[in-house]
Each structure stands twice: as C-alpha cells, then as structure tokens.
C-alpha cells in the first residue's frame, strides 16, 4: 500500500509560465526562420484583347496625351430612349398642333471620375450614329475596341474646363435643325414608340477632338439626358417651356470605345494578348492602364528552387512590394488606392483572383500616398499562399500574377512600376521561410 501512495504522490507538479529560456541561438537551430529577398521576379507588360465596356454605368469621354503611354482617347456611344414619345396633352386635341420647338440640349451629369488635367479646355462633339447600337459579336457586350459608324456632321460641341467635383453637370447646346426635325416627327406622330424612335435616331456618340486633349471625364449614365424644349405657339415669355427627356434606359446600349495610340512610346511594340513585353525592353518598367487593357505581369521563374534551401521547408509568408516609378504620378495622375491581382498562365489567360488561404481575394494595397523622396510608396501584396503552392507544384506549368487597376473597364488610370533592376523604384519580394 505504501507503494501506491508513493506513485500517486509523484504526479503533482507546478505549472511553468515559460518565461525562462536558455540559449535562444540554439532554438533558432532546429527550425530556421529566414527572410529570402533574392528570388528573381520578372516583370513584363501585356495587353488584353478586349475589355467589356458596356453596362459600366459611365459615359467616359475625353482624351489626353500621355508621355509614357501615348494618345489615350475615349468615345462614348449610347442609344437614347424615352418614357413617352408624345408631346404634352393638356386637354383638347387641337392644342397639340400649337406647340413649337424651342431648343435641344444634352445634359451630362458628372460622376466625379476624371483623369488628367482638368484645368485645361477639353472639346468634344456629338455625332449621330448611322447604324444601330447592336454588338457585332455573338454576345450582347460591347468592348473597348468596339466602334460604330457615325455621320461626320456635329450635332453639338462643347469646349469646357471640366469641374467634375465642383459642378453638377454640363449642358451642350445641340443643333437646332436636328432638334426641330425630331420635334416635327414627334408632333406629326411619326415617332410614337421606341421602335420608330430608334429607327429615326439610332444613337449618338461623343467624340473628343484631338486639338484640345487634356483630360478624360466620367458622366452618369442613368441621369444624363438629351432634353427637348418646346412651348405653346406665341406663348408668354415667362411661361415655362415644356420638356421631353431622352435618356439611356438600357445600360447595355451604352459603351465606351477606349483607344491608345502607342506610336513613339516604349509600348509601341506591345505584342498580342497571349504574349508579353519584357521590362528589359521598356526601361525596367511595367505598365498598367485601365480601359485600354494594358496590364503588368509578374513571374517567379525560380520559385521551385526554394524547395532545396533545406531538407524540408515551407513559405510561411511573403510580401510583394510594387513601387510606382517616381515622377510618373502626380495630383493630376493620382495613384489608385489598390491594385487588383489575378492569377494567369503563360498565355495570359486569367484563372481567377489571387486569393489568400481563406480563398478570399487579396489586393495590392497602397501603403502611403507619398513621402519625402517617394522611396517607400508602394503596393503591398501578400502572396505567401500563392508562392507556397507554386513552390510545391508538381506540374511544369507556372502561374503568373497579372496586375490591373480597379475599374479596369471604366477608367483610364495608369501606373508605371519598377522592376528588380530599376534604378529607384525596385520591386521587392520578401519571402519568410521556415525549415522543419
């Protein structure tokens, strides 16, 4: 019985708070945690075939000459429609005949988006489409490279300094002859419904002129309109005129044709969408431009060699720090707050967003807008999960990261990033690796 007592006694012990450690160097021995920042990162620029620009809820209009990218231009096409195709009926049938046309205007509501120098005058014209707003492709979408025929004649023109944040809208006086003709069609009841209207007026396109080229501005699709003013024959001048509004009721029938003339820039040899232009040929820089489909591609050609650092090891975390090149951004050409990151293959086919371990999309987040020498301004992308999978991949296929800006289909923002050999704004890859 004594033996029992002894063995039972032997069980008790105090708890250990773990505050005492001997030999921290030794602890780092069996499991090494190291930072690897010498892995090769290749940068290149690619060009997406086409981006869907219909249903983006933005009339994007303007052009500007970009010293890095070339001439950027956005035409905006749309089809108009109205809730009603008849003039106001105040009582007797005879009154209808007494209305007269006053004027016609296009009212575009700013949606606060702008890019470029809005202190300079920007000019664009309104043209009439000579074909219906109907996609040429099998699907129902329009793309940034879609275009429709329009008549040379300008139905209205505006030269203005955009005030997208201060003002509510701009008003463009349209051709009286165009307005009067439309009014007569309505008055004579030759246009009574959408079909007859769209047959008569197939659509409009806003085309910026190349003479005044400074900025690209966005307008609301839902609230912008063409307004027809009319009034009673010999009405008092104080009497308010009647209006008939034509709006873009079907967002699928509005799109922006965004083009880029790269001639004379480093990007002029940008190859077809399945190929890439190495940063070695573009001053150690990678390019991203929304709207025109220019995107930056990042490859990690040697990532699998990390397997051989130790017998067994894992990438526990990794950060990619992408730095915008000094003097390529300014107040007029601001940096986006984030980058969208996709995973693509060697032919630039996107398989999905870059995700973390929880399978939620991760973005590149701008760490700060600016600092004294802009040395540390950059986008931080957590890519530990991605690289660990790439490292362990059995097949030969390697995945790349494809970087775009938010609003790829409805803005013309752009950014220039430095590669590993860039003089001032090197891309940095920090891989935290543990051996086990």
């Amino acid at each position: 019985m004594l033996l029992f007592a002894m063995t039972v006694l032997s069980c008790g012990t105090d708890s250990d708070a773990g505050e005492f450690v001997v030999g921290s160097d030794y602890l780092a021995l069996s499991n090494k945690v190291i930072l690897i920042d010498t892995v090769t990162v290749e940068m290149s620029t690619i060009n997406f075939d086409s981006l869907i620009t219909s249903r983006q809820s933005r009339i994007l209009i303007g052009n500007y000459d970009d010293p890095l990218y070339g001439k950027v231009k956005s035409n905006s096409y749309f089809q108009l429609a109205s809730d009603s195709y008849s003039l106001i009926n105040t009582g007797s049938d005879t009154e209808t005949t007494n209305y007269v046309f006053d004027s016609i205007s296009m009212i575009l509501k700013y949606d606060n988006y702008y890019y470029g120098d809005t202190t300079k005058v920007q000019t664009f014209d309104i043209h009439r489409l000579t074909q219906k707003v109907k996609p040429n492709t099998d699907d129902s979408n329009f793309y940034n490279n879609s275009a429709l025929n329009y008549s040379e004649e300008s139905l209205g023109s505006i030269s203005y300094k955009p005030r997208p944040l201060e003002k509510d809208s701009i008003n463009i006086k349209m051709n009286d002859a165009f307005g009067a003709a439309l009014f007569q069609k309505l008055k004579k009841r030759e246009i009574t419904d959408f079909d007859s209207f769209s047959e008569y007026l197939k659509g409009l396109v806003l085309v910026p002129t190349s003479s005044n080229s400074a900025s690209v501005v966005g307008f609301h699709v839902a609230t912008s309109k063409v307004r027809l003013y009319y009034s009673k024959y010999q009405a008092d001048t104080e009497e308010t005129p009647y209006v008939l509004d034509f709006t873009i009721l079907d967002a699928a029938k509005q799109f922006n044709s965004i083009s880029l003339d790269k001639n004379g820039t480093l990007l002029q040899n940008l190859p077809v969408s399945s190929s890439k232009l190495s940063s070695l040929l573009t001053d150690h820089q990678g390019y991203i431009q929304s709207g025109t489909g220019v995107a930056c591609k990042i490859d990690f050609p040697n990532i699998r060699q990390l397997k051989y650092i130790s017998d067994k090891g894992a990438i526990v975390d990794a950060q990619l720090l992408l730095k915008p090149v000094n003097n390529t951004y300014s107040e007029k050409y601001p940096l986006a707050d984030s980058l969208r990151i996709y995973v693509g293959d060697n032919l630039n086919r996107i398989s999905g967003s870059l995700v973390n371990s929880a399978n939620t999309a991760v973005f590149g987040i701008l760490n700060k807008k600016s600092d004294e020498f802009n040395e540390n301004v950059g986008y931080v992308v957590p890519i530990g999960n991605f690289l660990q999978k790439e490292m362990l991949k059995q097949s030969d296929s390697r995945s790349s990261l494809i970087l775009t800006l938010p609003g790829i289909s409805k803005t013309v923002n752009r950014i220039v990033l430095g590669d590993q050999k860039h003089l001032n704004n090197k891309i940095q890859l920090k891989i935290y690796y543990i051996s086990y």
Partner: protein, 411 residues
C-alpha cells in the same frame, strides 16, 4: 510471496504510468533528450551521489553493478524513492519558484549464489519538459522578428538489469544492461509576420547500453572501484505534423509524417571511486567520473556537448554505542557533488554543485531503512542566455530488506 509479486507488478505499472506525469520542468530540458534525473538508491543521495566503491550490503548500490556480489545471502532488497523539489529559476531580470514532486526509482535485487547478485531497476532517465512563451527571435537575414511558443514534454526511461560476481573474497566484477526507451514531444508554434506555423514533433527513442564495473577490497575497511559505461547509440525516429494558420485558415503542410531523425549518442564514461572506513563508524567515499561527450558524434540538433567531470565525496557516521537504542542506530550522512556539466550554452558550461545531508532511519529491528536526504544545489549561472537554478530537494528512499529462502536449520 505471491501477494508480494502482485504488489510489485502493480507498483511497476503504476510507476511507469507516473513517468509520463512527473515532470521536472527546466529551461535546460530543451537540450539533448532533456534534463537528466538523478535517481540514486538507498542512502547514496545523502553522500553527494558518491559510492562507486560501496557494496550492496544494506541497500542496492546503483552506481556499480559489481557491488551486487557483496549482497548478504538470503536477502531480498527493494528500493523505491521519490523526491520533492523546490526550484528557484533566476535570470538577470526575473525570478520564479516552482515546486515539483517526482518518482525516483523502483528497484529490487537478490543474491543468485553466494558469490553473485542480480538486480532489476526502473527509473526515469531524462525529462524533456520545458516551456517557452512568445519568445522574440530574429528572422535570419532581416531586421524583423518572429515569436516562438514551445512546449516540450516526455522523456526517457531506464530499465536496468545488473549482475555482479565475486572472485574470491576481494574482487568482484559486474555488468549492467540498460534499456533506454521513451519519447519526447516538442510542440512549437512560430508567429512569422501574419502567419502561425505549428510544428508538432514526437520523437521515439530506444537503445541499449552496457556498464561494466569492478570493486576490489584492499582490506576490510578500504575498497577501490571503477566503472565503465560504454558509448551507445539511442535510435531516434520522429512523427511530425506541420500546419500553418494564415487568414484564420489552417492548412496542413504535413500530417503525421514518420521519419528518422538524428540518433542520440551516449558517451564513454569512466569512473573511479574509493571507500574507506575509520574506527568502524565513519566512512568516507570519494568518486571521480569523466564523461567523454565531445567524442560522440552528437548532432547539432541536441546542442553543444562537452566533456564532463564529476566529483563526489560523502561521509557517513554511525554511533558505536548502544545498538538497542533507536537514536544510536541512526546513520548520519553528508556529501558534496560538483559536476561541470556536459552542455555548453552560448559557450558557457552548465555546471551543477550540490551539498547534501541525510539520515538513515532503520525500521524497527529489520535491515530495512528509510533514507531521508536534504540537498541544496545550484545549476547554471545568470548571464545573457543562461539562467541559474537554485534547488532544495528532499529525497525519500525506502530500502526494504527481506529474508528470503531461509532454510530452517532445526527441524
């Protein structure tokens, strides 16, 4: 007899079970296969763990198998022990007390012939219990840090079979076969940037080691002795699970992967000792042991090992007066032990110094006795990466002696 064996087997089972729970938690347990237990039998703890030259006449001497040859005839010995330890851990910045109770050993021995004896012993060999909370460590090749939290547990056990044989009246030789077995678990989690990596490792050990010993009685009061523990390789195999926790999702990197790991090597250890009795009531023991740890091909994984020197000295005193008076039958003992340690941490040895005082309290009029030892020791030192452990230890060893196989001489 039968009931005794049943009690014994139950006790063995119980103590095996308690190995897993009697934790001696020391920051130094991180190294090797853990901190080594000292689990000496009988009155040996009282005399500074010296006694290579002592015979196994009143208790089992675990230091030298040759001592078994001097077992009294027809006696059956059993030794069981436990310890209560209060340790103060001191670093340059803080101090903490921890109390701990642990099983020490269970052993029994009996003479085989009138010239030889045999013993079986079970004792813990090492404890790999340690704990580290949120230790900040530098990430190699960077200015950043990571945080380590770790828990170690388990340890190795020692199962000894010893035999001693006497050649003539003076010389005895002995051998021990020790089976070392057990496992250690080491759970670590690394917080690196925003990711936690946890590594759970269980390492199983087993190996065999031989010890040879000799004792030579120069005269009835003076004995010299030596022991050789031969180098041994303790085979190690691990089962490991690695997981990473990022974005609140657990991803398995590897699950229960079995692999061989670096084996643990035990060194050649040589000891010499003397025992001399004066005036029939004062006995002095003196031991020196050298362990050639640096000659082993120990893997870096276990730490840096250096040759170890161990010095031990002990005195026992028993009154010669009236043997019938209980107080006169008590034996008093004291000893010192200094050990340079086999570990080197950051270029500094982890040495150990102990002073001990003990009493041997006979039980009634039998040969059985309760050995009580108080010892005070210091281990390590305070410096940047080292800590000092001051400990008070009470050891209780119960040495039972039964007469066995006594043939009645008068029918």
């Amino acid at each position: 007899m039968k009931s005794k064996i049943i009690y014994l087997s139950v006790a063995i089972l119980m103590s095996l079970h308690s190995f897993s729970q009697s934790i001696s938690s020391s920051p130094y347990s991180l190294y090797g296969v853990g901190s080594l237990y000292d689990s000496d039998f009988g009155g040996i703890p009282s005399i500074g763990s010296s006694g290579i030259a002592l015979p196994s006449d009143v208790y089992i001497n675990n230091l030298n198998p040759a001592s078994l040859a001097f077992m009294p005839q027809n006696h059956f010995m059993l030794d069981i022990g436990g310890k209560a330890i209060m340790t103060t851990y001191k670093s340059s910045s803080r101090s903490e007390n921890r109390n701990n109770f642990q099983f020490s050993h269970l052993a029994f021995a009996f003479p085989v012939t009138k010239n030889s004896g045999f013993s079986i012993a079970l004792r813990p060999y090492s404890s790999a219990a340690f704990k580290i909370s949120n230790l900040q460590l530098p990430i190699a090749n960077s200015q950043d840090y990571y945080y380590l939290t770790a828990t170690g547990s388990g340890g190795l056990n020692n199962f000894d079979l010893s035999y001693g044989y006497k050649f003539g009246k003076k010389l005895s030789l002995g051998a021990t076969a020790s089976v070392l077995f057990g496992n250690t678990t080491d759970d670590r989690s690394f917080l690196v940037m925003n990711t936690i990596t946890s590594i759970q490792k269980k390492t199983n050990y087993n190996g065999l080691r031989a010890t040879f010993g000799a004792q030579y009685k120069i005269d009835s009061t003076f004995t010299i002795a030596t022991t050789f523990k031969v180098p041994a390789q303790i085979k190690a195999a691990k089962v490991q699970t690695v997981q990473s926790v990022a974005d609140e999702v657990i991803t398995a990197v590897e699950s229960d992967v079995k692999s061989d790991t670096d084996d643990y090597y035990m060194p050649l250890e040589m000891g010499i000792g003397i025992s001399k009795r004066f005036k029939n009531n004062l006995n002095i023991t003196l031991d020196y042991e050298k362990s050639l740890w640096s000659k082993t091909s120990q893997a870096e994984l276990y730490g840096t090992f250096v040759d170890q020197d161990r010095f031990a000295m002990g005195f026992t005193y028993k009154s010669k007066k009236n043997i019938r008076k209980y107080w006169d039958s008590i034996q008093y003992a004291t000893g010192v032990n200094f050990d340079t340690g086999y570990l080197e941490v950051d270029g500094k040895r982890v040495n150990n110094a102990v002073i001990s005082f003990g009493l041997k309290l006979p039980i009634e009029n039998t040969y059985s006795a309760l050995n009580i030892t108080y010892s005070y020791g210091q281990r390590g030192r305070i410096s940047d990466n080292l800590i000092k452990e001051n400990y008070h230890k009470i050891s209780l060893n119960l040495s039972l002696d039964g007469i066995w196989f006594v043939k009645r001489k008068i029918d």
